[in-house]
Subunit: 219 residues, 2 copies
């Protein structure tokens, strides 16, 4: 069950597919309007799903494909739903390195197959998001003990350079900006960690056009 | 930055607060109706927030308190929103062991302070959910290497005993049942892992009264 550490011995030319590498996402888009079903289905239909496997079930939509195409698709769907003008809440889970799911036997060559940082063009849709990144590292880098915070800090530094970082909050990092930049930041952290850790996931909760201002209750 | 492993030397009577232990949650409830704001605010107001710190911002609601009280509060809010009869999508992040957030210096005594498994009474509201559990273990148990899958499998076994487990899916486990049982299962996995791993989080995406059936597109 422990991820193989023989990754470096496999050349990137081994042509492993995103499915072999366990690369993909689950996401949910909520539209706070009576007409939510039509808006969500239209948003899903408007996005380019070529080279992807997309499966929608009652809880979430599964997307499997390359890091770049997954980012493009999810950004496109969320931006399209947001253009309805309604308040949108969306949640996205990115996962890499656990292709078997139930057994999670990882694929040799995983680290060598790390993708370039994916990017998407700005959409004009502004979003706020709470972001979490999870390097599930059982083995550590060669000669080093596992240190999941080291990889999280590196991704946060990238978010600061990118301009989407607002601040660390309890249990999550607050990102703000164009939804394309916010989701690109999340995808970048995921891809960067995937260069040294076999199994890595990231979760982000996105809010667009929220009417809520902050309130605190001390019980 | 590495979590201290001196936990076992501190007695449970050290009276550390949930805040000291970094115990808490963030959650978001989406109501797919024009009247969402009133329904969500009424659901938040209807739940007992005594002994909790609750802070709502444009992305999510932060809840800090004991494992038992956090579970009670979140279940109560989601069930109240669901009683509006509209389609509900909710996402919940549970976190333990990273009280400092930015620096994540963990508190000595954390493992010894692990809580009993929290439970809440059935609500009559049925939910489906995609669940993820993340033991962020840099050190392993005494004499053992870190193995994040070992702890995940133990939590999945608990979900099977509990009757909420449906199946493992790509990147998540599908749970179904009364929202109280679904969220109790998630909280149980989180608490169980917290007995041997300093920093543990869990995410769950919940769907209630969804009109969606499964569809697949091969790109």
């Amino acid at each position: 069950m422990t991820p193989s550490t023989s990754a470096q011995s496999i050349a990137p030319s081994s042509a492993l597919t995103p499915q072999d590498l366990g690369v993909g996402a689950r996401f949910t888009v909520a539209v706070m309007d009576n007409d939510f079903a039509r808006i969500i289905l239209a948003a899903l239909a408007s996005a380019d799903a070529s080279d992807l496997t997309v499966q929608t079930d009652p809880v979430s939509t599964l997307v499997r494909g390359s890091e770049q195409r997954v980012l493009e698709y999810v950004t496109s769907v969320i931006a399209a739903a947001a253009r309805s003008g309604h308040h949108i809440s969306a949640t996205l889970l990115l996962s890499r390195g656990c292709p078997g799911e139930v057994t999670c036997t990882t694929t040799p060559g995983l680290l060598a197959e790390a993708a370039p940082i994916p990017t998407v063009a700005a959409t004009g849709v502004r979003a706020s998001a709470h972001w979490s990144l999870y390097p599930l590292d059982d083995t550590g880098r060669p000669g080093e003990a596992p240190d999941h915070l080291r990889d999280i800090y590196a991704a946060v530094d990238y978010a600061k350079e990118r301009g989407t970082y607002v601040r660390g909050e309890h249990y999550a990092t607050l990102l703000e900006g164009d939804i394309a930049d916010v989701l690109s930041t999340v995808a970048a952290g995921w891809v960067l960690v995937g260069r040294s850790v076999q199994h890595v996931t990231s979760h982000v909760s996105v809010s667009i056009a929220s009417p809520t201002s902050s309130t605190t209750t001390e019980g």
